[in-house]
């Protein structure tokens, strides 16, 4: 316990701002998200229109990052792909965080049989190799955005459920919870208003790391041709054909991967900074 830190009046936000790498990462992520969001208005090209005469052009003044095998502007597709990849990543991370919090909170608060049942299931989900199953599931589906989000959520909630359950187990023995019960406050209100806010530090850190996991999983699936389906671009599926043109058009392989890498690196740095800022004792 380090109460002096909190009593000194330094808020977590102030501590996060001191973490230089985390702030740079936050800024980078913000820029990537903003530019992707504004993409259609920033670029004169269409992300889907095919121009076979202009295929595989190297970076130039009119096509800053070159064109792909169908003559589509790579930068424009990267921006559109950013919308898709970040949307899938954020939504999947958010939904799996919600699922994890719900399962963890119910499990830890009520304990007993429900706890055993839910935690056994969590253990089972954690002990199966997720990637082969992700491949099979996405192959069985049609590869729509929401389907990919759903598949990622199925495999994304477990670690958070465990963390939240752990915090709930210790917090529910606290006197403020007892007093809330004595006052006749309903269970769901105790869970939401009295216990949950106290578990937010690890939840935020793990949810951030989950975002990285979701972006990575989506791009892996899409790279394999099992995720987001063309012509809709995602950073992963833009690499799908890039490997064939490695000799003649290496820029096709470099830029989408670079964006995935920079996003993941930023998310990981941000997670690290958040961990330092919110809970210095927390270890991963």
């Amino acid at each position: 316990m380090e109460p002096s830190r909190t009593r000194s009046g330094v808020t977590p936000w102030q501590r996060l701002r001191r973490h230089r790498l985390a702030m740079i990462s936050l800024g980078l992520l913000g820029v990537i998200a903003l530019v992707s969001l504004l993409g259609p208005w920033l670029s004169p090209h269409s992300y889907s229109r095919v121009h076979l005469q202009q295929h595989l052009q190297p970076p130039s003044a009119s096509h800053w990052l070159g064109t792909d095998e169908l003559g589509r502007d790579v930068l424009t597709r990267l921006l559109q792909g950013g919308r898709v990849s970040l949307f899938v990543g954020l939504t999947a991370a958010l939904l799996s965080a919600l699922a994890g919090i719900l399962i963890g909170a119910v499990s830890g608060y009520f304990g007993g049989f429900i706890d055993t049942l839910l935690m056994r299931f969590t253990d089972l989900m954690l002990s199966i190799p997720s990637l082969p199953l992700l491949l099979i599931l996405s192959r069985l589906g049609k590869g729509t955005v929401w389907e990919i989000v759903g598949i990622l959520v199925i495999f994304g909630w477990m670690s958070l459920a465990r963390i939240v359950r752990g915090s709930f187990l210790s917090l529910r023995e606290m006197q403020f919870v007892d007093s809330a019960r004595v006052m006749g406050i309903p269970h769901w209100r105790i869970i939401l208003r009295h216990i949950l806010p106290n578990t937010m530090a690890p939840v935020i850190v793990y949810a951030t790391l989950n975002l990285g996991y979701a972006i990575l999983a989506e791009s892996s699936l899409s790279y394999l041709g099992l995720g987001i389906q063309p012509p809709l671009p995602s950073w992963g599926n833009m690499l799908l054909n890039a490997q064939h043109y490695l000799k003649v058009a290496p820029w096709l392989a470099v830029f989408p991967g670079l964006l995935i890498f920079v996003s993941l690196l930023s998310v990981n740095f941000l997670g690290d900074g958040l961990r330092d800022a919110l809970d210095p004792r927390l270890k991963i």
């Binding site: 056994r120 253990d123 089972l124 002990s127 199966i128 190799p129 997720s130 990637l131 082969p132 199953l133 491949l135 099979i136 599931l137 192959r139 069985l140 990285g212 990575l216 791009s219 892996s220 790279y223 394999l224 041709g225 099992l226 992963g236 690499l239 890039a242 490997q243 490695l246 000799k247 290496p250 392989a253 470099v254 991967g257 995935i260 890498f261 993941l264 690196l265 998310v267 990981n268 740095f269 690290d272 270890k283």
Partner: protein, 318 residues
């Protein structure tokens, strides 16, 4: 101790059972009912004939009957027939499994040999410039998507420099010497071990730093033991315990990474096989591979428990 191990062994049974249930349920969902395939390949088959064959093959039985019939076949080593390779699945898997284990095993070895010394070094020189740089490298390593590092490695070492083949397996070029064969391993092992090296060196570092704060280290110092003895015999040995478990526990992730690596490098292992089978709608083969992966992971988790119990007397005494 034995009771503990027995209990752990018993706990892997539900995991394996769960994997079989998942596999079987997915098979029901998979498109390409065997009868549809039959009709597709031979349009002259009459509906009556299809009905008769459905009854013969037991496709109209209740689902749990079908499940247990399937399970009893699996237990006897019959995983079904591959549509893609026109061979029994059990005859395809051993060679592929050997290739995957060679790749993951080698990467595991490389990662351990690099990560543990570096992690120790970082802990010994905590907050030094080198420690800071190494932790940056670790962040880069865990943020590098395997498929992209794979593509970049091919671009650099194969397309530009021409040092290693852009993919494939030594078995496609018979009569290669040791170094000729080794060239095929360099790129995939490099890519696959990068990620695990990055995360394990971080764990090694924090585990050692955690141990060094313990009271028994203080006691050892108070006894006047030399620094080297304290670090090696008291700190390092204890710090390695969680690392051993962690390594066993991250093997599922390694297998996952191997799936993507194998696909990038056309490495003829289980990962490449599951990809090829899915792309060719050979779902039974894909499920069989997933089943093998599930059992493998359960075994490795059990192995982690056993190793932990052996290494840590506190667990043994329970």
């Amino acid at each position: 101790m034995y009771r503990h191990l027995l209990k752990r062994t018993a706990q892997t049974i539900p995991v394996v059972f769960f994997v079989t249930v998942v596999v079987f349920s997915l098979m029901q969902l998979a498109p390409g009912d065997p009868m549809d395939m039959l009709v597709l390949s031979n349009p002259n088959v009459t509906p009556e004939e299809v009905e008769r064959l459905r009854a013969v093959y037991g496709l109209d039985d209740p689902i749990y009957v079908q499940y247990f019939r399937w399970l009893s076949q699996v237990v006897q080593g019959n995983l079904g027939y591959s549509r893609l390779y026109h061979r029994p699945i059990t005859s395809i898997l051993p060679q592929r499994l050997a290739n995957t284990l060679a790749l993951t095993g080698l990467s595991l070895l490389v990662s351990i040999l690099i990560a543990i010394p570096i992690g120790i070094y970082s802990a010994l020189r905590q907050y030094s410039v080198m420690d800071y740089l190494l932790s940056m490298v670790a962040f880069v390593g865990i943020s590098f998507p395997v498929f992209w590092s794979g593509i970049l490695v091919i671009l650099l070492f194969s397309v530009v420099l021409g040092w290693v083949p852009p993919g494939g397996h030594p078995s496609i070029e018979p009569g290669l010497g040791f170094w000729g064969q080794a060239r095929y391993y360099v790129a995939p092992v490099l890519v696959l071990s990068f990620f695990s090296t990055a995360s394990w060196m971080r764990y090694m570092r924090s585990s050692l730093l955690e141990v060094i704060r313990q009271d028994y280290i203080l006691t050892a110092r108070a006894k006047g033991l030399p620094g080297r003895v304290i670090w090696v015999r008291h700190a390092l040995r204890n710090a390695l315990i969680p690392i051993v478990t962690l390594i066993a526990l991250t093997i599922p992730a390694l297998i996952g990474g191997a799936v993507v690596t194998e696909i990038v490098f056309s490495w003829p292992g289980m990962g490449r096989l599951i990809f090829d089978s899915l792309m060719n709608n050979d779902y039974y083969l894909a499920m069989a591979i997933f089943l093998i992966f599930g059992v493998l992971v359960a075994l490795f988790n059990l192995l982690a428990e056993v190793a932990y119990a052996f290494l840590d007397p506190r667990i043994r005494m329970e």
